[in-house]
Subunit: 248 residues, 4 copies
Amino acid sequence: MSSTADQLVISSDPNHPANLIPSLCAKFWTLGWVTGTGGGCSIRDDDLVYLAPSGVQKELMKPEDIYVLSLKAQPPHPSPRTYLRSPPIYKPSQCTPLFLAAFTRRGAGCCIHTHSQWAVLVTLLLEQQGNSSSRVFEINNIEQIKGFGRGMTKRGNLGYHDTLRIPVIENTPHEEDLTEYLEAAMEAYPDTYAVLVRRHGVYVWGDNVHKAKTQCESLDYLFQLAVEMKKLGLPWISEVTQIAPQRT
Amino acid sequence: MSSTADQLVISSDPNHPANLIPSLCAKFWTLGWVTGTGGGCSIRDDDLVYLAPSGVQKELMKPEDIYVLSLKAQPPHPSPRTYLRSPPIYKPSQCTPLFLAAFTRRGAGCCIHTHSQWAVLVTLLLEQQGNSSSRVFEINNIEQIKGFGRGMTKRGNLGYHDTLRIPVIENTPHEEDLTEYLEAAMEAYPDTYAVLVRRHGVYVWGDNVHKAKTQCESLDYLFQLAVEMKKLGLPWISEVTQIAPQRT
Amino acid sequence: MSSTADQLVISSDPNHPANLIPSLCAKFWTLGWVTGTGGGCSIRDDDLVYLAPSGVQKELMKPEDIYVLSLKAQPPHPSPRTYLRSPPIYKPSQCTPLFLAAFTRRGAGCCIHTHSQWAVLVTLLLEQQGNSSSRVFEINNIEQIKGFGRGMTKRGNLGYHDTLRIPVIENTPHEEDLTEYLEAAMEAYPDTYAVLVRRHGVYVWGDNVHKAKTQCESLDYLFQLAVEMKKLGLPWISEVTQIAPQRT
Amino acid sequence: MSSTADQLVISSDPNHPANLIPSLCAKFWTLGWVTGTGGGCSIRDDDLVYLAPSGVQKELMKPEDIYVLSLKAQPPHPSPRTYLRSPPIYKPSQCTPLFLAAFTRRGAGCCIHTHSQWAVLVTLLLEQQGNSSSRVFEINNIEQIKGFGRGMTKRGNLGYHDTLRIPVIENTPHEEDLTEYLEAAMEAYPDTYAVLVRRHGVYVWGDNVHKAKTQCESLDYLFQLAVEMKKLGLPWISEVTQIAPQRT
């Protein structure tokens, strides 16, 4: 690698996006989030967007596999010719327009897409409940909810008694066709940092890599907990039927 | 190791089959696919077939443990004398004729055999349903289905709404006796890249190591998901009772 | 780092608290105990208390991230000004007063706080049973119970037939508000080495790092076992309906 | 370490028992077999027996922590004075007489003791079924059964259709008191390579480290599978209601 374009992905800094995406994806692989080339991760550094290619084994990715494009130069849905750097042997990820939606509409610095089974099972359980309640995942009164920001225009994180709401969109045969529904969900839920995709997985973003990753971890924790709660007959939403704090 | 035969397994290239089989098997061990010497993996490089021996701890395998045989020289069911290289202290794997079936009948470049519990449980659940439906695992409308090729003679991968069908064959007391049933299943399902073996595990192959591994990961994901769906009362096959995409 | 305060966290000894907290937290992350910046760990070395900051990715923590405060100099609930060393970019953990309660009231040398899903599920299952029995987790006749000390003022560990009792306190919107309830539970259960927090997680301590960690592991094992027992219809408390030992 | 006794545990060979026990125990820790200092592993090399001490964190063990004793010099139940080497800061494991039973009565070369939750749950499920059937775990028609030897006096391994039988003994308050029941189970089941201990775990042995470890892995696989089968309403023992092999 020696062209000007290649310089975009060469750095000795482990926190450079071209190094960080492979190390994050390797970690996500061990969590079951990006099995069998599914899922992915994109980082925005000011105007530059770093993206993994389509169809790679996520735990084996290397900096030279990374695509780079300029956010300013993008039409709403980018085509391959607008990439600043394209690895010759790959195709760009079909998730690209979805990652870009998080960057352009929410000012996110990082967006993670997982195929976590817990996310998929939550969307199936909601579907099972019928049409009216199936389009949003809701849970409250769990400490881990505090791992989420209140919203782009609000300060601080959700509280313990707040209800976390994650919208669910229906899956489409072609991943890029999800974009308009993802964008619609972002408008309908202006404070959400995540959108579930039925029978598919979840998109989670944050202001930076730290926030996107920790929000994604907290959400996956809540999805897994919710599935286990369902197996044990425990409801996801509880009244704050406060058991009065005990004194001795 | 210094004989001509040993040269077949000596290479400094991590992607040489004799290096790749041990590193893949170590990874598979952490996934629970090759517990207690069960399961295995074989790679074909043009005419040469690389195989793990029988009865080794899969996470501890070394290049010098690898068998090599020539595909051209093989009768349908190879006997030990046809090996180009045989490690002195081992016996060849009983899976050998099954791996060869994937290479000769499908032109596969890699074949993986796992004892994954999810695969076994799926075959048990199918058996529980009775005779008529028990011989094929079917699932549709799950994004991860896109991780499979449409078939040897077809281009591209399955789509989201396509039904993935994996035939199930009955187990036999001796693993090599599975060969004729595996081959029959290959004929009955000319597009399949995998065959489940009841109460035993699964064989998965692909054009190359990348495709075999990622298809095996995607399939194991779907088997695990299917078992969890069963626990939660969710059907594996769904009508595309399309919940109309929401608009806001 | 070169100030006198920074010397508190610089050591080449892997067992120095400032090195041990990051390595323990990285291990806890792989166990799912400190997902998404939740949970944490504090070590006391005589008068000095070492604490992780708030909101960090626990598997990425470094010695220079560690807070240090003097136990003697502490009012009951410390304020930031009493820290001997404060990393400039962080905030102290909200768990601090809870960790201090274990140090001052129990003479503990280490306290671990996890958000383990097994702990949360156990508190939810107890809540489901209703008010009277929901405030203490009880299990007996499981070998792993021997992993707990009998109590601060008693010698040795619990026996196989002893009932392990872990009190449960209700969660509060602000973590520091848990302190008075944690302290009340410590008074009500003078021999306990752990307190569950409903819908939140667990605090576990011990005389030293070894004891806190191994007690926390044993407890998490019992919580997971208890959840699986519930799924299978197995009661947590059994009469010693001794099946007479078999003779042949 | 420089005494003659210390020479017993100093070796640069990774397969020396004093090196192998720590590396095996670290691996077992990641499998959940030796959580919270529970469980352990012992290796016999001719007349010498290598043992882990009591109460150590199994993933942190070092060669210098290892006890060594001479098998010939042992009375049936060894006392500390008979150790050839005793690390000064530890106590010998309470499992010692049970490991010795496998060495003296079965000629085993390695014995592993796990607290695996799957083993514990299997014993609880058997107990739930009532007295008569609760004293032996039986499973058949699962490929992984082939991972077990037929018995000390027999050649080869179990076949697919054979029923694997693992006796269950009741737990006792003191681990060393299990010895007589373990020995009685060995007599009642002269071909078994493992004994389950109710509400406690399992002892598994083999002619050498390889066989003990792979048999232990295969057994843990079967215990986990059995628990999942129970959740899904699938019986552990099946008639060979052979679904006739399909032809196409």
